[in-house]
């Protein structure tokens, strides 16, 4: 296995599951919660960049150009919860210049995080990433592409990251690059199994239930195992994906993150 074999499987492979989750789940997550208990710096940064390119024309750099709305002061016309904010952004406000925006869940998380922290966030410290440079790091020095495919191009030993910018937030992308073991989604862990007749199987878990486990093995074969037929079954808690904390500079990390967050899937 090469360095980034399991890279970002944290955010995960589970393409089918997570696409659905991306469409509905993150909204559901926010549903019922007035405000997130914590807004993460990477999400705020990501949101600040989106805000600068998409929102300032009407709302102004300080978010105070629309009468009755002042983002820095936390003043809104009809918004109470984070979910209200997401809804207003995605559905627009009829009869006003506020159009519906077609943002994905990660972008919405970023924008909401930024709007909730505009008063304290200093945009001068914004680390702007360059996605072209990030792609070069992904395919070159970072060796990410030796394990991860992007939209079907590349190996399958780790999750395809073609839609990672839609299904995972900026904060989770950031944390996974720094701490891949800690941020990895359990479903994507490698499993080790030995059948009753001694055959050894190692592979990346794709699904599991009480009686069975589904995986893709090192030869990229899709296997479904019945636990009752196994002599050994264990889940590998470590990963060969390295941490990029000391490997890349802050600017390189920002570049790599900008590239990953630009991956929105095939539309």
């Amino acid at each position: 296995m090469t360095l980034c074999r399991l890279f970002l499987r944290a955010w995960s492979q589970c393409a089918i599951l997570c696409v659905v989750f991306a469409l509905f789940g993150v909204a559901a997550r926010a549903q019922g919660q007035d405000r997130a208990p914590v807004y993460f710096p990477s999400d705020i940064q990501y949101g600040a960049q989106i805000f600068a390119s998409q929102c300032t024309a009407c709302h102004g750099e300080n978010g105070d150009l629309i009468p009755g709305v002042n983002f820095r002061a936390g003043q809104f016309k009809r918004v109470i919860s984070d979910n209200d904010l997401r809804l207003t952004i995605t559905t627009g406000v009829p009869g006003t210049a506020m159009q519906p925006f077609n943002f994905g869940a990660s972008e919405l998380t970023g924008i909401v995080s930024y709007l909730r922290n505009m008063s304290s966030f200093d945009t001068r410290n914004l680390m702007r990433g360059n996605k072209e440079r990030g792609q070069k790091l992904f395919e070159g020095e970072g060796k990410c592409a030796t394990c991860h495919a992007v939209n079907g191009k590349g190996p399958r030993v780790a999750p395809d990251l073609g839609d990672i910018g839609t299904i995972r937030t900026a904060d989770l992308v950031h944390r996974t690059l720094l701490d891949p073991e800690g941020a990895m989604l359990p479903v994507s862990r490698y499993v080790h199994a030995v059948t009753r007749d001694g055959k050894v199987i190692n592979g990346r878990r794709m699904n599991e239930d009480t009686y069975t486990v589904q995986l893709i093995d090192e030869q990229e074969r899709m296997l479904s195992l019945t636990k009752a037929d196994l002599r050994e079954y264990s889940i590998v808690k470590t990963t060969s994906m390295p941490s990029y904390k000391d490997k890349f500079s802050a600017q390189e990390l920002a570049d790599l993150e900008a590239y990953l967050l630009s991956l929105k899937g095939v539309k």
């Binding site: 589970c14 919660q33 007035d34 979910n83 944390r175 989604l185 009480t210």
Partner: protein
């Protein structure tokens, strides 16, 4: 003379017939529902709500021969939470949003469909769901998500009456199956996430006229009000979204109540917040409360106590007693004296860290976790609304459980706005910053972080509070439980398996993958000498019986 008698009989016959037909399911029959195990006459199988059936054609030796007999596919993609009724070969079930369907219990083919279109203003917190109907005479009763109670003719599917209980735009909804007691239909309202003021209501089954209403959150002129700070009670929650139980000898109905509002910010509502998270014992004729017991005073964790109260007559410390058993969302299993509400015992059935135990009166000795630290059990609880079961044969109480499951709670001050969510904060996964897949149905709960827990069926010995056995599942258990006189236990779970276990040992005897979340209770009945077992999974209801 004989001619005259015959003529007068013929003359009277049309007048007599409606009365004969109206007696199809008398309150007397519901009272003795366990004596006719071929039917399932009320939500929990009987007024004692044990979900225990005397049917024993399917037993531990032949259960492996169960096979699929028919499938009913709901015309809805919403969660299928309905427990059907079965009356003399006809099954009555509900499908989202508020349809009643009468089907042949032997083939699954429909006789009729009653469609009710709820108001678009309805905003139930957790899905457009319904958990079933009640029946009296020839009339079915359904509570709707826009807070109406409708009566429908059981033979034709035509509406008989329809009454509105509360304003759906204010967050009031109804998802529970009504309970018929004598000549009344009893329901409660959901809406605990919208700051409603909960209540239980009884309606005359014949006319739909409201007979009484019991407010679960007392106003200034009602007992228990002192447990609220001024004004907070007006949107204090205490929703009632699950069916209660009934003891005809004591003439008491028992209902569990939901969380206080706002859910996660107790600082906004000092006091015990009666009668949230409680069981209330009411006179079914008047709605007057005889006693209450509060499981989780001043609840910060959304530990709704709406679980179905299970009534058991058994010896308690050598004395024949009228007991109530309760596997609570807060992680404790309780035994109460149901005549008085006296606390008899309480033991944790899953990992609990919000309380170190219960005192002599059953009040929790609370141990709140530091900010940012996980609380066990998490927001969905050690169990939730899924029906438990009690088998008089094994003497065990069976709980569908979420194990090793926790949430980080954060309270945030929230203003009340009618019709908007009033939850007061946030709940997040047990690892700070991890994904929090609350409410999602796209895979095992522990797909996102291992700390999110797993599922089990837990068999508790009520006498000792000890676990007799445990059947572990990879994903959480969202299924109700059924036990039978042949010592079988049926239960499903979120991953879609439907399982038969040995009720004495927990050993797996049979399983079938039904391919969709099981979030309803199994039932059993008999038609033409054959015992059936049904369970809803995904968007369909599956009927099993022994191979010919």
């Amino acid at each position: 003379m004989r001619y005259l008698l015959r003529a007068s009989f013929l003359f009277l016959l049309p007048l007599l017939m409606p009365f004969a037909l109206r007696a199809q399911v008398t309150s007397e029959r519901i009272l003795h529902a366990t004596d006719e195990p071929q039917n399932w006459l009320t939500y929990s199988g009987s007024y004692a709500s044990q979900r225990y059936s005397l049917l024993n054609q399917v037993d531990t030796s032949n259960v492996k021969n169960l096979e699929l007999k028919w499938v009913f596919q709901a015309q809805s993609l919403q969660k299928f939470e309905s427990t059907p009724l079965v009356v003399d070969g006809v099954m009555y079930l509900t499908q989202s949003p508020n349809d009643i369907v009468a089907v042949d219990a032997k083939t699954g083919r429909a006789f009729w469909v009653y469609h009710y279109a709820p108001s678009p203003a309805a905003r139930p917190c957790c899905g457009i769901v319904n958990r079933g109907v009640a029946i009296l005479g020839d009339t079915l009763f359904m509570a709707t998500v826009d807070a109406h109670l409708v009566a429908v003719d059981a033979k034709t599917g035509h509406a008989v009456w329809n009454v509105k209980l509360a304003e759906p735009a204010a967050g009031y909804a109804m998802t529970l199956a009504p309970l018929v007691v004598k000549d009344k239909v009893i329901v409660g309202v959901a809406g605990g996430e919208f700051g409603v003021r909960g209540f239980i209501s009884a309606f005359d089954a014949e006319t739909g006229k409201e007979a009484w209403r019991f407010d679960t959150i007392p106003s200034p002129d009602q007992a228990g009000h002192e447990s609220w700070r001024e004004g907070d009670w007006q949107h204090g929650g205490g929703a009632v979204w699950m069916t209660g139980s009934y003891d005809p000898d004591l003439n008491l109905i028992y209902y569990g109540t939901g969380n206080p509002g706002p859910d996660w910010n107790p600082a906004q509502r000092p006091g015990d917040n009666l009668y949230s998270d409680s069981v209330v014992a009411l006179n079914p004729d008047t709605g007057k409360m005889k006693w209450y017991f509060q499981f989780t005073p001043h609840d910060p964790y959304d530990y709704d106590s709406v679980q179905v109260p299970v009534l058991v007559n058994a010896n308690w410390k050598g004395v024949a007693s009228k007991l109530m058993m309760w596997g609570n969302r807060n992680g404790f299993f309780y035994v109460l004296d149901r005549a008085t509400g006296k606390f008899l015992s309480g033991h944790p059935f899953v990992k609990v860290n919000w309380a170190s135990g219960l005192d002599a009166n059953g009040r929790p000795v609370t141990t709140p976790q530091p900010p940012g630290q996980p609380t066990f059990p998490g927001i969905q609880g050690g169990t939730n609304w899924y029906s438990p079961s009690y088998s008089p044969r094994t003497g065990l109480f069976y709980i569908p459980a979420w194990e090793n499951y926790s949430t980080i709670f954060t309270g945030i001050d929230t203003d009340f706005h009618e019709g908007q969510r009033y939850t007061g904060g946030a709940n997040t996964a047990p690892i700070p910053g991890a994904e929090n897949p609350v409410g999602q149905r796209q895979g095992p709960i522990n797909i996102y972080t291992e700390a999110l827990g797993s599922g089990a069926v837990i068999a508790m010995d009520p006498a000792t509070g000890e676990k007799k056995w445990k059947f572990e599942m990879h994903d959480v258990n969202t299924s109700g439980i059924l036990t039978t006189a042949s010592d079988l236990l049926f239960s499903g779970g979120r991953e879609g398996y439907f399982q038969a276990l040995d009720a004495r040992t927990g050993a797996l005897l049979w399983k079938e993958n039904l391919g969709g979340e099981i979030i309803a209770g199994p039932i059993t009945f008999r038609v033409d000498g054959k015992q059936y077992i049904t369970i809803a999974a995904g968007n369909s209801l599956f009927a099993f019986a022994l191979r010919e």
